[in-house]
C-alpha cells in the first residue's frame, strides 16, 4: 500500500469542501496533480495544496492507496465522499460528512467527527475513535433510503437520528447515542453499548436496534420475549435481552428492539 500524507496548513474559518480527498481521485496522480485538486473555501475555488502539504506517493490503484491526514480538520467537510476503495486515516478530528456516500474501502478518524458522517453509506468501513455528531449513517434530507450497507463503528458517543431511514448495514456505538436512533429504519442493525435516552426505533418498520444501557421505550413498542445470547445479522450478543416489536404507530411494523436486562 502506498501512502499520501496530507498535513493541514492554516485552515480558514469559512470551512472547506474537500470531496476530492479520496483514494479514488488520488490514485495514479502525482503529488503535483493531487495538490491541484479542487477545494472550495467558502465561495473561492482553491487548490488542495493551498491548505495541505502533500507528500508521499499514490498507487495506480485506489485500493492500494492510503491517505493519511496529520492533524485536526474540523473545518473540512466531505472528506472521503463516495470512496470506493483504499484507505483514509485522519489523525485528528474531522468536519461534517466524513465518508458520505461511501461504497468501499476504509476511513478511520482518530478524533471526533461532526454531523452527517457516513450519510447514505453503501459499503466499506467507517471507524471513529472519538465521538460522532448527529445524523451518523443517516439518509440525506428526503431520502427514504438511507445507509444501505457497510459498517460504522464509533468508539465514543453518537448524536441524534443515528441511522435515519437505514435500509442495510451495521452501526455500532460503544458509548451513548442521542435520541431517535434508527428512526424510520427499515433494515440493518444498530448496536448501542451505552445508553440512549429515549425514542430509539421511532417509526421503524424493520431492522434491529440493540441497547445495552438505559433507555425509555416508546409506548408504541410491544414486549415480545426474553432472548439469551441472540445472534442478529451475524452479530453474536452476550447476555439476556428483553425484546420489543415496533414501532406499532406504523401498520405492520416488524422492527425489533433488544434491551439488555
Amino acid at each position: 500500500m502506498k501512502e499520501i500524507i496530507l498535513t493541514p496548513k492554516e485552515l480558514p474559518d469559512v470551512g472547506l469542501i474537500a470531496e476530492t480527498i479520496t483514494p479514488d481521485l488520488f490514485a495514479g496522480k502525482s503529488i503535483g496533480k493531487i495538490a491541484s485538486l479542487l477545494i472550495f473555501a467558502g465561495n473561492q475555488r482553491k487548490k488542495l495544496g493551498d491548505f495541505f502539504e502533500v507528500a508521499g506517493k499514490s498507487a495506480d490503484d485506489a485500493s492500494d492507496t492510503r491517505i493519511v491526514i496529520k492533524g485536526d480538520i474540523t473545518k473540512v467537510k466531505m472528506v472521503g465522499k463516495g470512496t470506493k476503495a483504499g484507505e483514509i486515516v485522519i489523525e485528528g478530528s474531522a468536519g461534517m460528512y466524513v465518508g458520505e456516500e461511501m461504497r468501499g474501502g476504509k476511513i478511520t478518524v482518530l478524533g471526533n467527527v461532526d454531523s452527517f458522517a457516513g450519510q447514505t453509506m453503501r459499503g466499506g468501513e467507517l471507524v471513529i475513535k472519538g465521538n460522532a455528531g448527529d445524523y451518523l449513517g443517516a439518509a440525506y434530507r428526503g431520502d427514504w433510503r438511507g445507509m444501505r450497507g457497510g459498517v460504522i463503528l464509533v468508539e465514543g458517543n453518537a448524536g441524534a437520528e443515528t441511522g435515519l431511514f437505514m435500509v442495510g448495514g451495521k452501526i455500532k456505538i460503544k458509548g451513548n447515542c442521542g435520541t431517535f436512533a434508527g428512526v424510520h429504519m427499515k433494515k440493518g442493525l444498530i448496536i448501542i453499548e451505552g445508553q440512549t435516552p429515549e425514542r430509539a426505533g421511532a417509526e421503524m418498520t424493520g431492522g434491529s436496534i440493540v441497547v445495552m444501557g438505559d433507555t425509555d421505550i416508546l409506548p408504541t413498542f410491544a414486549p415480545v420475549n426474553e432472548e439469551k445470547n441472540p445472534e442478529i445479522d451475524g452479530e453474536k450478543l452476550k447476555g439476556t435481552f428483553q425484546t420489543y416489536s415496533g414501532d406499532h404507530a406504523e401498520r405492520g411494523a416488524k422492527g425489533m428492539l433488544y434491551k439488555f436486562v
Binding site: 439518509a139 440525506y140 434530507r141 428526503g142 431520502d143
Partner: protein, 569 residues
C-alpha cells in the same frame, strides 16, 4: 433582429410535406421567410438534419403542484445540478428541475415551446410566476376544470351557454390557454376521500357524471372556438383494466366536431391502457386502445412514455396519487384546491426489474408504434410522471430502432415481452415521423400550427438542428448515436436567434406566454358574473377581486382574442 440562412441541411418538415430534402431555410425578423435577407448570418448544416423547434404539449414544468414536487424531493435535486455560468443561472433537480434549469434543458434538446398542463385556477398566479422564470421557451398553461363547481352546476342544469361563459371568464382570469380536465368528477369526490370509478359514477352531491362533464366541456370548448381541444386525463389513471374506460372515453365527445383538429386530446394514454385484474396478471391493452384511436376521427392522444427512472409522479388526480402511495408507502403530498381540483404528488421508481414497470415501458412504445397515423400519437412522458423530459432522445431511439427495443427487452423484466405485443412489432419511425410526433402534430393539436411546428413561410423562426447525417447513418443500427444527437442539439434557434450551439447554451432569452381570451355575449357574461360573485363570497377563501391574475404576472404575453359573441346571443 438577426437574420439567418440555415444552409445545406436535410429538412424534415411534415406539415409542409418536406421529407428529408436538402434545402436552405431563411429567417428574418424572427420569422421564416422566402428569401435570404441582406447580410444574413449563415449557418452551415451540411451533414445535419433540420426540424422545426420542438413543441411540448404536456409537461409539468411550472406551478404549485410542480413546486410541491420540488419541495418534496431534495434527494432528487442532489442527483442533478447545474452550476451558474456567465450566461445561465444555477439549478437542481433530475425529475423536477428548477425553473431556469428547465428552460435550459429543453432548449438543449431543440425545444422552443412547452405547455404546462394542469393549473388550478386559484393558484394561477403561482403558475405564471414560475413560467416567467422559465427561459428559452414559449409557454402556456391549461386551467383545470374537472371538479369545478360552477362548471358542474351549469352542465347539470343543461346550461351549456353559461358553462361556456364561465369557461371564458376562467381562461381570462387565469390567463390560461386551454381547458384541462383531469379525472373529471373524481377530483371533487376526492374532497370526501372518494373517487369516480367509471364514466357513469356520479359525483357525490353534484349529481353529474364524468361522461356528462366531458361531453359538456367538449361542447363548451368548440362553442368558444378555442385553439386547442379539451385536454383530458381520463378517469381511472393507473388502474388495472382501465383500458375499457379509455375506449369509452374516446367515444364521449364524438358528436362534437372541428374541421381543423381533434375535439378530444386524450393525454398520457400509456397510463390508461392497462389490462388484467391483479398486479400479477397486469398486461398491456395498448393494441385495443390503438385500434380505437386508429378508428376515431376526432380524438388524438399523447403517449406518456415510461422511461424506467426514479421519478416524481404529479397529477391533479388526487385519488390516483393516494392510491399509488398506498402501494409504495412512499411519501405523499396532497393539495386539494377549493371548488376546483385536487392535485397530488408521490415519488415512483420504475425499476426495470419490476414486471409492471417493464410492461408500462412497453405500452408507451406500443402506442407510438401501433397507432398508424403519427399525427394522432404525440410523444410525451407526461413529465415527470413517466420519466423526465430529458429522456426524450432515448424514447426517440426506441421508436426508431427495433434493435434498440430488442436490447431493452433483453434487459428488463421478461414480462414486457410476454404481456405486451412490443416484441412482435417491426415498425421503426423515420425522421419524418419523429418530427411529426415531437413538433408538427403537437402544434396542430394545440391549434398553433400557423406559426409553430413547421418551417413554412410565416412560421416562427424556431428551428432545431441535430448532428445527424441521414445519408450516412442508419438509426436502426446506430440507435446510441441517435440518442446522443437528439440529446444535444447542434443548434437551437428561437425567433431567429441561436440559443444553443453544440448542446451548450450560448444565449438566454425569455419567450412568450400564450393565453386565450374568448369573448361571449355581454349580457350573458354579466349574468354569469353575478352568479360568480354570489358564490365567491360564500364559498371561496379569497375575494373575487383578488382572484383574476393581474396583467403584471405574465411576462411577454400573447393574448389570443377570440370572438365568441354568438354564445348567448
Amino acid at each position: 433582429m438577426a437574420s439567418l440562412i440555415i444552409k445545406n441541411g436535410t429538412v424534415y418538415d411534415p406539415a409542409n410535406n418536406v421529407n428529408g430534402e436538402k434545402m436552405d431555410i431563411y429567417i428574418k425578423d424572427g420569422k421564416i421567410v422566402e428569401k435570404a435577407a441582406r447580410g444574413a448570418k449563415k449557418i452551415d448544416c451540411n451533414g445535419k438534419i433540420i426540424m422545426p423547434g420542438g413543441v411540448e404539449i404536456h409537461s409539468h414544468i411550472a406551478g404549485g403542484k410542480v413546486n410541491s414536487g420540488r419541495l418534496l424531493r431534495p434527494e432528487d435535486h442532489k442527483k442533478l445540478v447545474m452550476p451558474k455560468t456567465k450566461l445561465t443561472r444555477s439549478g437542481s433537480g433530475f425529475s423536477t428541475p428548477s425553473t431556469f434549469m428547465t428552460g435550459y434543458l429543453y432548449s438543449k434538446l431543440g425545444y422552443t415551446t412547452a405547455m404546462t398542463p394542469a393549473m388550478p385556477p386559484l393558484m394561477a398566479r403561482h403558475t405564471h410566476e414560475e413560467l416567467n422564470d422559465i427561459p428559452m421557451l414559449d409557454k402556456g398553461s391549461y386551467p383545470l376544470t374537472d371538479g369545478n363547481w360552477f362548471i358542474m352546476r351549469y352542465l347539470k342544469d343543461g346550461d351549456i351557454e353559461k358553462a361556456a361563459a364561465y369557461a371564458a371568464w376562467l381562461l381570462r382570469s387565469t390567463k390560461g390557454f386551454a381547458l384541462k380536465i383531469t379525472n373529471p368528477g373524481g377530483t371533487e369526490a376526492w374532497g370526501w376521500g372518494k373517487n369516480c370509478k367509471s364514466l357513469d359514477d356520479p359525483v357525490p352531491y353534484f349529481d353529474i357524471t364524468p361522461r356528462e362533464i366531458i361531453k359538456g366541456l367538449a361542447e363548451v370548448n368548440e362553442m368558444l372556438g378555442l385553439p386547442h381541444s379539451i385536454h383530458l386525463q381520463a378517469n381511472n389513471l393507473g388502474r388495472l383494466g382501465n383500458y375499457e374506460t379509455t375506449i369509452d372515453t374516446i367515444k364521449v365527445p364524438s358528436g362534437t366536431k372541428n374541421k381543423d383538429r381533434q375535439t378530444l386530446h386524450l393525454t398520457h394514454v400509456q397510463f390508461h391502457s392497462y389490462g388484467g385484474d391483479s398486479w400479477k396478471n397486469f398486461e398491456s391493452e395498448a393494441e385495443t386502445v390503438a385500434k380505437a384511436v386508429n378508428k376515431t376521427d376526432n380524438a388524438i392522444i399523447d403517449t406518456g412514455n415510461v422511461t424506467l427512472d426514479n421519478t416524481t409522479t404529479m397529477t391533479a388526480d388526487g385519488p390516483m396519487e393516494y392510491y399509488l402511495q398506498s402501494l409504495t408507502h412512499f411519501k405523499w403530498m396532497n393539495r386539494d384546491v377549493e371548488l376546483e381540483t385536487a392535485p397530488g404528488i408521490t415519488p415512483f421508481i420504475y425499476s426495470p426489474k419490476m414486471s409492471t414497470a417493464a410492461i408500462q415501458w412497453a405500452i408507451g412504445l406500443e402506442l407510438g408504434l401501433l397507432i398508424k397515423d403519427p399525427w394522432k400519437v404525440l410523444m410525451t412522458t407526461d413529465h415527470p410522471n413517466g420519466g423526465p423530459f430529458t429522456r426524450y432522445p432515448r424514447i426517440i431511439s426506441w421508436l426508431m430502432s427495433r434493435p434498440a427495443r430488442d436490447e431493452m427487452l433483453e434487459k428488463v423484466n421478461a414480462a414486457a415481452g410476454k404481456r405486451s405485443s412490443l416484441a412482435s412489432i417491426d415498425r421503426e419511425y423515420d425522421f419524418n415521423d419523429i418530427a411529426t410526433v415531437t413538433r408538427a402534430g403537437q402544434a396542430r393539436s394545440l391549434g398553433l400550427s400557423e406559426t409553430k411546428g413547421h418551417l413554412g413561410i410565416g412560421a416562427h423562426g424556431d428551428v432545431a438542428v441535430y448532428d445527424i447525417d441521414p445519408d450516412n447513418m442508419d438509426p436502426s443500427k446506430d440507435f446510441k448515436g441517435i440518442e446522443k444527437a437528439f440529446s444535444a442539439a447542434a443548434y437551437t434557434i428561437k425567433g431567429g436567434e441561436v440559443l444553443v450551439r453544440d448542446g451548450e447554451i450560448v444565449k438566454v432569452t425569455y419567450g412568450n406566454t400564450y393565453w386565450t381570451n374568448p369573448h361571449v355575449d355581454k349580457s350573458l357574461e354579466k349574468e354569469v358574473l353575478s352568479d360568480i360573485e354570489y358564490n365567491f363570497k360564500r364559498y371561496y377563501s379569497v375575494n373575487l377581486a383578488n382572484y383574476p391574475v393581474q396583467d403584471k404576472y405574465v411576462k411577454n404575453p400573447i393574448e389570443l382574442k377570440i370572438d365568441a359573441q354568438k354564445v348567448g346571443a
